[in-house]
């Protein structure tokens, strides 16, 4: 079992934990954090491939930089949306937001 497999397995574990959090947590902030966790798992994959892949190169690092940037933007917008929602509904529980049904 090479190191690459170990990193990939770790990333898979983190990804699935994040996914479980996204699916089950009621608090929107925890959901956002879980999404960050999933993104991190993906980043871990990229970096691992960057070192242990068939063609080790710096591209993996660049990619994860972009990912981190986008994640930061996503977190900022997500928190902003959350605060607006909280202002109008006085809750941050995702199961109370069912506007999609209407």
């Amino acid at each position: 079992m090479s190191m690459l497999s170990s990193y990939l397995t770790l990333a898979a574990v983190l990804f699935c934990i994040g996914l479980f959090g996204v699916l089950t947590k009621r608090n929107a902030i925890i959901v956002l954090l879980s999404i960050e966790l999933m993104l991190n798992a993906v980043n871990l994959n990229l970096i691992a491939f960057s070192k242990y892949g068939v063609n080790p190169s710096i591209a993996g690092h660049i990619f994860s930089l972009f990912t981190i940037t986008v994640a930061a933007a996503e977190a900022a917008v997500g928190i902003a949306v959350l605060i607006v929602l909280y202002r109008s509904r006085a809750t941050v529980n995702v199961d109370e937001f069912d506007e999609l049904r209407r």
Partner: protein, 175 residues
Amino acid sequence: MLNFDIEITGEFVAFFVLSVCAIVGAVLAINFTKVVHTALSIAFTFVSIAGLYVLLEAEFIAFVQVLLYVGAITILMIFGIMMTKHDGEGKEPGRPLHDTLAAIGCICLFGILFYGIRNANFPTESAPFVEDNTREIGKALFTQYAIPFELVSVLLTVAFIGAIALAKREEESSQ
């Protein structure tokens, strides 16, 4: 299938410790009922991952990870937590069917991924890696990836302006 014929090296020990830290942090984050605890525990996971990045010779990324995730995003989340109320945490009725299905789905997904990883054929010996990767990243960003880099900066600007516009109180317009 599970043949753990691993030579115990310093790198592996470090990987093992850091990965256990990351997983423990993630699991705790899911299990805590208080949001602040969750945020802190996730931050712990992020730090562990940064350690893993160092282990993977990606020092710059590790630095960015600590700066952005631990420093920026987690703090942003804590601001979010502070600006909203969390009185009724853990008091809602559970959703057993939903949770069970989610667990089954995630475990199945993990099973599939694990199966794929185990069966994948990776090259055993890796080519030598560049030494000074921060410099290399800088070069790549400003040569080969210049346009994506600029686009990302635009994206960030738009996102932050959008976030401010969203979160701004609309008292002026409502009056």
